[in-house]
């Protein structure tokens, strides 16, 4: 099994979720994160003092998939999350050694 971690633009979350659903992946976990990268932050101004906000709101989607669906899932996320503008984010794939469904104790692919 593999874990896909995709850092995306927040307003793309729904499309990513739908794209994954379309290829039969119905479970995922998302976290509100802040990202720093090539995308420029913005400058705010408060009472005459400027300050730079360089961590931008992003959403991290984590989804664990069986090996054979990995490519489809990465593809789906990539297509759904892309706007073509800087800051679209990254997808990382990590190995997963075990999975357990807490409710039933099912393991590995059965647990997904």
């Amino acid at each position: 099994m593999k874990k896909i971690e995709a850092v995306i633009k927040p307003f793309k979350l729904d499309e990513v979720k739908d794209a994954l659903n379309d290829i039969g992946i119905h479970g995922l976990t998302m976290t509100e994160v802040k990202g720093f990268g090539m995308q420029k932050g913005h400058t705010e101004l408060y009472r005459g003092a400027e300050y730079v906000v360089d961590f931008l709101p992003k959403v991290k989607v984590e989804v664990v998939v069986p090996e054979e669906r990995l490519d489809a899932a990465v593809e789906a996320i990539m297509n759904a999350a892309r706007t073509g503008k800087i800051g679209d984010g990254k997808i990382f794939v990590l190995p997963v050694e075990q999975t357990v469904r807490i409710r039933t104790g099912e393991r590995d692919e059965d647990a997904l």
Binding site: H42, T43, E44, L45, V53
Partner: protein, 400 residues
């Protein structure tokens, strides 16, 4: 001594209606998304400021023919009243005039540009509103005399269901349509997408402030303490309660409907609060609560007009209902004080509504043509707080 008391009386009224503007600010800030809270609050505050300038130098003169350019010793006796009563009278009526942009603000929020909006405020408060105000409350241009001769009574709008609220609410119609819906509100495939409020407690705070301040709005509309009437107070109370409770039931416990339902009742009772029976007031308010809930849903979902806070149903439709209802429940047949006729109330109300609708399209249409009304797509997306004010509502949070 009398004059001192009257100045005291109207100062309290003016302070209470001034506070209502804080209510407008919080009602709006709570209903919009987080990224537009600052802009909502700054616009409501500064609209009040620009309204003051517009009404002081132009509007009040148009409505009442009075200006304030004489030196202080004369101002103290203006209109033959001592203690500078006339000056606080201006203050009191200004807080009404300034309610017009505050009402409209709730419809056009989350996408209006800042300075074009200021321009609209100035035009409305210096010209449009005072024209109708003078027609009704100062007998200008013989309109009231004509109504009286045609329909047997003058148009009765004690505290402004029509003069203030229907005017503001129906001006918002043109404004909202000229402006267009917020991006993402209506999909091309016909779906209506919920754009959710950020903060119900702020909304509730706004509503509470408005409710309390409204007793200044209505009761102090008597102008002088000697003319004050406990009937106005109890009628405002019962209409508020009527609107709140029907909105609770019809609106299925929705906190937005309940808190605005109370306001719907108050909007509707302004016109007849000095003449209807308390039980009539309960009925007027109760009907207003129902009108508001259904009106909101029709306008948003059926007519697809993106009136964010629902100011068209709330102030516009319920205000018009209040103007007409005064002609029904104010009659002696309904236990009221009489002195009104249904036809006058109908014609007076429709005149106000018509004027508001036309002016709304005209003013906002002209500004759109000349300056543009809307934030750019990008500014709307990132929010008016950052786009217009270069700062968000919770700046500390943004620093990672």
């Amino acid at each position: 001594m009398n004059a001192g008391m009257d100045v005291f009386f109207l100062t309290m009224g003016a302070a209470m209606v001034l506070a209502m503007h804080a209510g407008f600010a919080f009602l709006e800030a709570g209903t919009v998304r987080r990224k537009n809270q600052v802009n909502a609050m700054v616009r409501v505050l500064t609209d009040f400021g620009f309204s003051t300038i517009a009404y002081f130098f132009i509007g009040y003169g148009i409505a009442y023919g009075t200006y304030f350019f004489a030196p202080v010793p004369e101002l103290m006796q203006l209109g033959g009243k001592s203690n500078a009563y006339e000056l606080v009278h201006f203050f009191f009526l200004l807080t009404f005039a300034a309610a017009v942009p505050a009402i409209i603000s709730g419809g056009i929020t989350e996408r209006i540009r800042f300075w074009p909006n200021v321009l609209a405020t100035v035009v409305l408060v210096s010209l449009v509103y005072p024209f109708y105000e003078g027609l009704i409350w100062n007998g200008n241009h013989g309109f009231q005399t004509w109504l009286n001769s045609m329909f047997g009574a003058k148009f009765h709008d004690f505290a402004g269901s029509v003069v203030v609220h229907a005017m503001g609410g129906f001006l918002a119609l043109g404004a909202v349509i000229m402006l267009g819906a917020r991006r993402g509100r209506y999909s091309k495939d016909g779906r209506v997408n919920a754009i959710l409020p950020s903060n119900i407690p702020y909304l509730a705070l706004g509503s509470w402030i408005l409710c309390v301040g409204w007793f200044g709005f209505n009761v102090m509309s008597a102008g002088v303490a000697g003319a004050v009437s406990g009937l106005v107070a109890i009628n405002s109370l019962l209409a508020m309660v009527g609107g709140m409770l029907t909105a609770l039931v019809v609106g299925k416990n929705d906190p937005g409907f309940v808190h605005n339902g109370a306001l719907a009742g108050l909007v509707a009772i302004c016109a007849g609060s000095d003449i209807v029976h308390p039980i009539g007031a309960l009925a007027i308010g109760g009907a207003a609560g129902v009108i508001f809930v259904f009106g909101f849903e029709i306008i948003q979902n059926r007519l697809r007009i993106d009136d964010v806070l629902g100011v068209i149903p709330l102030h516009g439709v319920c205000g018009a209902w209040g103007g007409i209802a005064a002609g029904i429940f104010g009659s002696t047949a309904m236990g009221g004080a009489g002195g009104v006729t249904f036809m006058t109330q109908l014609v007076g109300t429709l005149t106000g509504v018509g004027l508001a609708v036309i002016s709304g399209f005209a003013v906002y249409g002209a500004i759109r043509a000349i300056l543009g009304l809307r934030l750019s797509e990008e500014d709307e997306y990132q929010g008016a707080d950052l786009a217009v004010h270069q700062v968000a509502a919770y700046p500390e949070e943004d620093m990672a």
